[in-house]
């Protein structure tokens, strides 16, 4: 059994492009579960459903949950309370990794932390998993903290230090983005549009709705198809 843990950002990229059928198609070919935490549910359903602007997107994501395309970690007999407790531990710890002017730099919040907590809990159960996140900061944090240090220094115009000792916990999380999920659909021939530029159109659509991917990376993905 495997799991893909969806962060708010990835579901937002799909939702803002109206690609709900594409999520269903991905689920059909996935031998495992698509998971969301209750913290992510709050960000993508509970909160936006009360705004006129994003009510529809929230409702349609809610439907994915009702149809069990997206599921809660309880399908793996994981306790919500334990996830929430671990989420807080991880968030507090993550927000003490980067320091500037003798103070900690708060970088991430509950939803993002809950995905990390769930990933670690699935690891402990021996369930192969990856986090689907389109968010830049969390990806930099997990994959290249030295680049995040550089970015913080450049933008905040201060010296930033990385607490290497406590960082060890954050190594080896596996990250994919909505763009890689689109590529999977494309490879499986599950993208309905048969236009020769369909892959390009899908990848850029994800980028313009918030997926942190550069033009150069998109071009590289496209070159893999030639």
């Amino acid at each position: 059994m495997k799991a893909i843990i969806f962060d708010s950002s990835t579901l937002i990229s799909f939702a803002m492009n109206g690609l709900f059928e594409e999520i269903k198609k991905l689920k059909e070919i996935f031998n495992g579960k698509f998971l969301i935490t209750k913290e992510v549910k709050y960000e993508i359903i509970d909160r936006p459903i009360n705004t006129k602007r994003f009510e529809l997107e929230a409702m349609r994501i809610k439907k994915l949950l009702e149809e069990k395309i997206l599921e809660f970690p309880s399908v793996f007999e994981l306790n919500e309370e334990e996830i929430s407790k671990e989420t807080l531990n991880i968030m507090n710890s993550a927000n003490k990794i980067f320091w500037g002017r003798s103070r900690e730099i708060r970088l991430i919040d509950l939803g993002e932390s809950s995905c990390l907590a769930l990933s670690r809990m699935l690891d402990k159960k021996g369930i192969k998993n990856a986090i689907a996140t389109d968010e830049r900061t969390i990806r930099l944090f997990l994959e290249k903290p030295e680049n995040l240090t550089k970015l913080l220094e450049k933008k905040m115009k201060i010296r930033v230090t990385l607490n290497q000792k406590d960082y060890k916990f954050f190594k080896e999380f596996k990250i994919i983005r909505s763009t890689e999920l689109i590529y999977v659909l494309y490879k499986k021939g599950l993208i309905e549009l048969k236009d020769k530029n369909a892959l390009d159109a899908f990848l850029y659509a994800m980028k313009f709705k918030g997926c942190a991917i550069s033009d150069e990376e998109i071009e590289e993905i496209k070159r893999m198809e030639k």
């Binding site: 708010s8 937002i12 705004t51 730099i105 905040m156 890689e180």
Partner: protein, 188 residues
């Protein structure tokens, strides 16, 4: 409140801009506040950045001035900014927060087109400042929380920007990530 002197400076410049009817200068100043706020994440700094930026934008728009309710709104913002400056000087943070809040609350007393326009300016100002915080390296979720905007609106705004193009954003290269995605789906 953190970086009090900076907040005071922004408010004094905002007051001057209102008096001189020149909103152009405030934009740059409000971005400086966001620079500080990215580190401190102080709600007062963030609120002032949004209010100052919004006032700057509102003053710039000549077509708002003939609309019903403009004079009253203009009086309220002028007085609230003046009072909030005095509050900081007197170290009265509670009163300062009330005066800043008064500006946003005064929108509720407006009606018609002006109410709609000004609400939009404040909403867009919050998203704009959120995107600036995000550019500083703070996560989208943390930023959305600090500015009170939804992740949906922030993601779309950030997606239109060039935030993903900076060299620091590069982490794992394309091929191994594609390979990971394919392996999750048992594809080669």
């Amino acid at each position: 409140m953190q970086e009090k002197e900076n907040v005071l400076r922004i408010l004094q410049e905002t007051k001057k801009a209102i008096e001189e009817d020149d909103g152009g200068k405030i934009n740059k100043l409000s971005n400086q506040t966001i620079n500080t706020a990215s580190l401190t994440q102080d709600p007062d700094n963030i609120a002032v950045a949004v209010v100052a930026y919004s006032i700057g934008k509102i003053i710039e728009r000549e077509n708002y001035k003939p609309l019903k309710g403009w004079d009253e709104f203009h009086k309220t913002i002028s007085l609230s900014i003046k009072n909030s400056i005095e509050d900081i000087k007197k170290n009265d943070e509670e009163k300062f927060r009330k005066d800043i809040e008064l500006i946003r609350n005064s929108i509720e007393n407006l009606s018609g087109k002006l109410k709609f326009y000004i609400q939009e300016v404040f909403r867009k100002a919050s998203i704009n400042k959120a995107s600036k915080l995000y550019e500083h390296g703070i996560s989208m979720e943390q930023t959305a929380k600090l500015l009170g905007v939804t992740l949906f609106e922030l993601a779309s705004y950030v997606g239109q920007s060039s935030a993903s193009e900076i060299p620091e954003n590069k982490t794992l290269s394309v091929k191994p990530r594609i390979k990971l995605a394919m392996s999750m789906f048992e594809l080669k």
